[in-house]
Symmetry: C2
Subunit: 351 residues, 2 copies
Amino acid sequence: MKKKADGGRTVTLKDLAQELGVHPSTVSRVLHSGSDVAKGAASAATAERVRDLARKLGYSPDPQAASLRTRRTKLLGVIVPRLSDLVLAIMYEGIDEASAEVGYSAFVMNSRDDPDEQRRKIDLMLARRVDGLIIGDAHLDGGLLQELTDRKVPFVLMNRRVPGYPSATCNDIVGGEIVAGHLWEMGHRQVAVIAGEPYASTAIDRTAGFLDRWRSLGGTISDDDVVWSKFDTAGGREAGEKILARGKPRPTAIFAVNDFAAIGAMGALRSHGLTVGQDVAVVGYNDTSLAAELPIPLTSVHSPMADIGRTAVKLIQAVLRGEKPEPAQLKPTLLIRESSAARAPAEVSAS
Amino acid sequence: MKKKADGGRTVTLKDLAQELGVHPSTVSRVLHSGSDVAKGAASAATAERVRDLARKLGYSPDPQAASLRTRRTKLLGVIVPRLSDLVLAIMYEGIDEASAEVGYSAFVMNSRDDPDEQRRKIDLMLARRVDGLIIGDAHLDGGLLQELTDRKVPFVLMNRRVPGYPSATCNDIVGGEIVAGHLWEMGHRQVAVIAGEPYASTAIDRTAGFLDRWRSLGGTISDDDVVWSKFDTAGGREAGEKILARGKPRPTAIFAVNDFAAIGAMGALRSHGLTVGQDVAVVGYNDTSLAAELPIPLTSVHSPMADIGRTAVKLIQAVLRGEKPEPAQLKPTLLIRESSAARAPAEVSAS
DNA sequence: CTGAAAGCGCTTACAG
DNA sequence: CTGAAAGCGCTTACAG
C-alpha cells in the first residue's frame, strides 16, 4: 500500500531528491527512463539508488501534478445508456481492465439514451479533462458525433456503431443471420422479431441480418412481424403481447435482439398458456450469464462483450496517437439451448 | 459544450483576466464567491463582467490544476465485487448521480471479492489521489478496514456493513424477518435458505433475520436447511440441487438471499419437474428489475439500491468533513408475487 | 476592492 | 551525467 513520509505526508519527488542528495529533475528523469538501464537519465548507480528509495518509500507520482505539466490526464470517459444494463456493465469491465493495463483510468456515466443527457455527460467528462471518450450509446442520426469531430475531441464508439466513425462492436449483422439460419433449419416458417430501438445499430443490424437471411432462404416475413421495443424485460413483454394480439396465426418462433427482451417475451408467452421451446421457440442475443441458467435455458447469440470493451480501449489509444483505426467487428456465435432446441410444431392455430 | 479560445486552446483563468484587464486572482475570487453577490471578492460590477465573460467563453476550471493547489481532487473511489452484478450497478448509479450533484466524480473498480484484488484496487484509487473511498465489498473479518483506518484513509462502507464502521446498507435483518413472517403465514413449515457467502453481512444478516423470526414463530429449521452459496445464478442452481438431494422431505419453500440465486434455484426446481409457486415457493432479495418480469414472477424483498448509493455519498461527505456518521440502514419491503402467492401444499413426499 | 507573489508536484528543454 | 529554471492552471493569504 501507499506509504506516507514520516510526517504523515505523501512522499514527493522532492522528498526522494533531498534524501538522496540529488536534484528532483534527476529523480524524475530516472523514474521515466526504461526500468532496466537509465538510458541517458543518470548513471546506473544513481538510477539504482533512486529506484530503490522510491520503492522503499512507496513513492507514487501525483497524477494531477503530472497531467498539469504534460497536458494529458490518462483519464478516459465512458458514456453508456445504463450501467445497470448487464451488457454495458460487462463491456465496461473490459474497458476498466484494459485501460488499467496501459496506465489509464476510466470514468463511466449513464446517458439513459437521452440526447440532452448525452451532451451533459460528455461536457462533464470534458470538464474533467479526459484524454478521450468511449461512447457506448451512439444514436444512428449522429449529429453529436459530427460535433465532437469538429471540436477535435478524440473518441471511439463501442457497442453501437455509426458508419464513418471508429467503433468496436459485435458483428450484429452476422449475428442476426445466424439466428435466421438456425430457426429456418428447425423448421420454423412463421416468425416474429422483437427488434429493439430503431436508433441503435445493434437493433438495426441484428434485425436486418435476420430479415435478409430469412428471405434469402425463401422465408416470408412482413412488416408487422417486426416489433420495435425497449431493450429491457418490460419492453420484451410488451412486444410479446403485441405479437400475440395481432389477430393472425401466432409465430412458432420469436427472435428478440436482446436477452432481457427475450425473457420478457417468455413471460408474455407463459401468461398466454404457451410453453417456450415447445409451442414457441425463443432466441435472444448477447448470451448474458442469465441465459444458460433460466428455468427454460435461452438460446442466445454470444457476443464477446468484455472483448468489445477491451478493443474499444485499443482503438481510443490509436486515436490518441493520431491514427484513424478501422471499425472492429467481433464475431458472434450461436448457443442453442432448450428454448429453441425442438423442431417447429406442425401447425399453429390463431391465438 | 466546452468552448475553446480562438487559438483552439482551452480557456484559462489568465485568458479571462487578460481580456477583462484584471488580475487572475480577482477572477478566481469572483468565481469562487457565492453566485449572486461578490461578497468581498470584487465590486459587483467587476464580478458581473467576470461571470459574463466566463459564461460567454465557456470557461471551465482545470480540475487537476485546482486540486494540485487545494490538495483535494473531488474524486471518489468505489470498489465493488462486480459491476456486472446488477445490485451493485444500481447502487453505483445512485453514487454517480449524488456525487455529481455535490461536484464530485466517481471511479469504480471490481475486486471480484478477492482480498488481494481489493488491496490492489484500493492502491490504484489512492494513487489517483481520490479524496475518499466507498467500499461495496467489505468482508466481515475486516482486517483491511482496520488498516485503512490506521492510515487515515477516509472511507465508508456500502451494501455490506461491518460493525464499527460507517456504512449505508439495507436493513437486511429486518428483510430476512419479513420473509420468515410471510412464508410462515402462507402455511409453510418446511423451509430451506440459500444463504449466500458467509463473509458478507448481506448474507449473514438476511439469513439470521430469517432464522430468528422463524424460530420465534415456533418453526423448526436445522443447520442443513441453510445452504451457503455464491450470489449468482449458477450458485443458486447448485444450492437448489443440494437442497433437493438431501434425502429428506423437500421443503415447501426456499428463501434465497439474492434474486439471481433465486432464479438459479427456480431452474433447479424445474429440472426436477417441480413447479415454482405451486410445489415449492421461492422468495428472492433485492427486487431487481427482472423479478417482476420473469415467466413466473418472483416474490422479492425490495431494497432501495439507488438510495443506498446516494446515502453512501452523503456519508463519505460527512467523513470528509471530519464527522463520524452513524451507520444508515434503509428499509426493505416485501413484494409478493406468483412464486410464493399460493398457500403451502398440504403434504410433501421425499424427493 | 484589487494586485502581486508564492507554491501545489511534476516534467522538460537547456546548459554545462 | 546532473543541475537549475521555467511553467502547467489554479488558489490563497497578504498587502495596500
